[in-house]
């Protein structure tokens, strides 16, 4: 898994790691059950503080993207199965609102915006 | 551990100086042995009654041991200054003092380890003369064999004193060259100032202080047989003075800030 973080941007490093891991999982480059590098290994590879990686992994585990096995080892999980569909939609709504607001401001046609979203889905290779 | 580093730095010099002194001792011994035989040969063909009664063995032995003075004084000065110049103080000038002073050891250990090693090395170097000379003196005169080491305690004590002074001054100035220059200045002052005072201002020094003069090498002026007790007394006095300097260096290094 090749990740890249930019420590000079204003974005917290752990957030960058989280979003990149989510991206990788969403693009099916890593499937459920695949192993992730340990905190120590990833921190060494990225040359960042292990606490930062640990925090990212904690957040990812809480969101159900990954899971840690008691004996050690971190693996890709398959989301939080306990989440209701309505809850999942609720989480997506702010992003949808933001997209709608931006495209209105830029005076882009809603159809064209929807096509953009479809393009992104196809680039990810469809549903995981 | 600083002792090991001092050793690394000084072992080559120790070997060189010791070998030189040993060689000089041997050469001097050989020379006087040759004189002895020649004198004996002359005596055997001599027709002079006074010369026949002359104790060649005694006087050749005396000559051999007296010649030590010619070599030991410069050797002592050279060794003391050289070892003092390369003592711990010069790490200041080299910029390595933060490293030295951040090793986990009390600061007095550094100074005393350094001093003790230097003192031991000076002892060894200065002993080499007598060691080189002794086998030859043994052939010349039994009496003088006992005295072939006679100058050692005094010379070594003064040598260690000078070494301690140079070490202190090197620590004070942070440079071996400056340490040596100041040490030489101190020695010259010490040697001439009391005489100057005596000569021009007619100040008379008590005899106890005179014992500490550098004219202890003139032991042969008044007596043909060296006064061993006097020698040891002088050596003891100088040893006490010698110890002052490492204490001064210790005080200085403990106060020093970087």
């Amino acid at each position: 898994m090749i990740l890249h973080v930019n420590t000079s941007s204003g974005v917290p490093v752990y957030l960058q790691i989280e979003s990149q891991v989510k991206h990788v999982v969403a693009a099916a480059a890593l499937k459920e059950g695949d192993a992730l590098p340990s905190v120590r290994k990833l921190a060494t590879e990225l040359r960042v503080n292990p606490n930062t990686v640990a925090r990212a992994y904690q957040n990812l585990e809480r969101e159900g993207v990954i899971r840690t096995v008691p004996g050690g080892g971190t693996y890709v999980a398959n989301g939080l199965p306990g989440l209701l569909k309505s809850e999942k939609l609720r989480r997506l709504r702010p992003l949808a609102r933001q997209l709608a607001v931006e495209s209105t401001q830029l005076r882009v046609n809603p159809d064209e915006t929807l096509k953009l979203v479809e393009d992104e889905f196809s680039q990810l290779g469809g549903r995981k | 551990m600083y002792r090991w580093k001092s050793w690394c730095d000084s072992r080559q010099r120790l070997a060189l100086y010791a070998a030189t002194c040993l060689a000089l001792g041997l050469l001097t011994g050989m020379q006087h042995w040759a004189y002895y035989f020649r004198a004996l040969a002359w005596q055997s063909v001599s027709t002079n009654r006074f010369f026949e009664a002359w104790d060649i063995s005694f006087w050749s032995g005396y000559g051999a041991v007296a010649s030590l003075a010619t070599f030991m004084l410069p050797a002592m000065i050279w060794s003391s200054l050289a070892f003092g110049a390369t003592s711990v103080g010069r790490e200041y000038g080299a910029g390595a003092m933060p490293f030295v002073l951040t090793r986990p050891q009390p600061r007095w250990r550094i100074v005393w380890d350094d001093w003790a090693l230097g003192a031991a090395e000076i002892c060894i170097i200065l002993s080499m003369f007598s060691i080189g000379l002794a086998p030859f003196v043994a052939q010349i005169s039994r009496i003088w064999l006992g005295f072939s080491g006679v100058m050692l305690p005094g010379v070594v004590a003064v040598g260690i004193c000078l070494y301690g002074l140079t070490q202190f001054l090197t620590l004070l100035t942070g440079s071996g060259a400056k340490g040596v220059s100041f040490a030489v200045a101190v020695v010259l002052f010490y040697n001439f100032f009391p005489a100057a005072l005596e000569q021009w201002w007619h100040v008379h020094w008590p005899s106890k202080i005179l014992d500490l003069s550098l004219s202890m090498f003139s032991m042969f002026d008044s007596w043909w047989i060296p006064d061993l007790a006097q020698q040891w007394k002088i050596a003891a006095l100088w040893s006490v003075v010698a110890l002052i300097f490492p204490f001064l260096s210790q005080w200085l290094i403990e106060r020093r800030e970087i």
């Binding site: 420590t7 000079s8 941007s9 204003g10 974005v11 917290p12 490093v13 752990y14 120590r40 921190a43 060494t44 040359r47 960042v48 503080n49 292990p50 606490n51 930062t52 925090r55 | 551990m1 090991w4 580093k5 690394c8 730095d9 790490e91 080299a94 910029g95 390595a96 933060p98 490293f99 002073l101 951040t102 090793r103 986990p104 050891q105 009390p106 800030e257 970087i258």
Partner: protein, 307 residues
């Protein structure tokens, strides 16, 4: 509360011509990578010297690893690895000899680590230190500190003299062998980008005073730069205001948290808030310790108001 590995209370060091350290209150938590940042001459090296017993503090107190800096210097040095600012060791000794010299002081010395680092950093073994290049000298200094088995590493300008590849290797080694083991690293530097990668705590010192001490993630997440315009003559004061700058009508405020509340207060004073943006470490540093030059385009320039 996590134990602090370095803790100072009003630490002060005064030299005849300058107050090098002035009432410093530093706190380094155990296991942290603490970036001690400041300009040249800000007092970083003097602070470190005081902590390690190379200089005596004029006033105040400090503890390293729970030990008093005035009384327990040897015990502190036993457990602390130090990379000095001037990378100077004994000119006459080779790397192998320097290792042997240093090893004698530290029972926890690791020969295995030393071997690994020598080959990783490509350190020449048999050449005397005095004949090494600056880069190699720096590497040897690091080698001696890193293999000591120290609980705390204090590194003063660790990357000076190192090329980018070596800097990268050094960071890798620090993270893998030290930070991951829970050891504390105290890095003093003015190279922000390097510190930004691995630090989790930041302390910014200027003129001998600590201007800011915060978690780096806090800075990224909560610190905000608020740009506003207005003629408000009243002073804006708030506990979360770190610094402010002003250029005629434009004001820039650096706040440490609750930027929204601050913005509300500014608006209440009749100012127009133009932008609220996150900041990186460089901007925080310049905001606190920077000097701004007068603008060229006729603007009379900025005057910096202290927070």
């Amino acid at each position: 509360m996590t134990e602090t590995v370095i803790s100072t209370q009003g630490l002060t060091k005064v030299y005849p011509d300058v107050r090098a350290v002035d009432g410093l209150d530093l706190n380094v938590p155990r296991g942290a990578v603490y970036g001690f940042l400041g300009r040249n001459g800000a007092g970083k090296t003097t602070t470190i010297r005081t902590l390690l017993g190379l200089a005596r503090p004029t006033a105040g107190s400090a503890q390293v690893l729970g030990l008093d800096i005035r009384k327990d210097t040897v015990a502190i040095l036993q457990r602390t690895g130090f990379v000095p600012e001037t990378k100077q060791l004994f000119d006459s000794l080779t790397t192998d000899q320097l290792i042997r010299f240093n090893r004698g002081y530290f029972p926890k010395w690791s020969d295995a680590l030393a071997e690994r680092y020598i080959s990783l950093f490509e350190i020449p073994r048999k050449r005397p230190f005095g004949k090494l290049s600056l880069g190699n000298r720096t590497k040897v200094c690091h080698l001696l500190a890193l293999c000591q088995g120290a609980d705390l590493l204090i590194m003063d300008e660790p990357t000076s003299g190192l090329d980018p590849v070596m800097v990268d290797l050094l960071m890798r080694v620090l993270i893998e062998d030290h930070v991951s083991e829970g050891r504390t690293v105290f890095v003093s530097s003015h190279h922000l980008s390097e510190v930004e990668r691995i630090a989790d705590w930041i302390g910014i010192i200027e003129g001998g005073k600590l201007l800011l001490e915060a978690r780096l993630e806090d800075i990224r997440q909560n610190f905000r730069l608020v740009t506003a315009s207005g003629d408000s003559a009243s002073e804006v004061a708030a506990p979360n205001l770190i610094s402010k700058r002003r250029a005629e009508k434009f004001h820039r405020y650096l706040v440490s948290r609750e930027a929204d509340d601050f913005v509300t207060r500014l608006r209440a004073q009749g100012m127009t808030v133009l932008e609220v943006s996150p900041v990186n470490l460089g901007e925080v540093f310049l905001g606190l310790a920077g000097k701004e030059l007068p603008c060229i385009a006729g603007n009379p320039g900025v005057t910096r108001a202290s927070a």
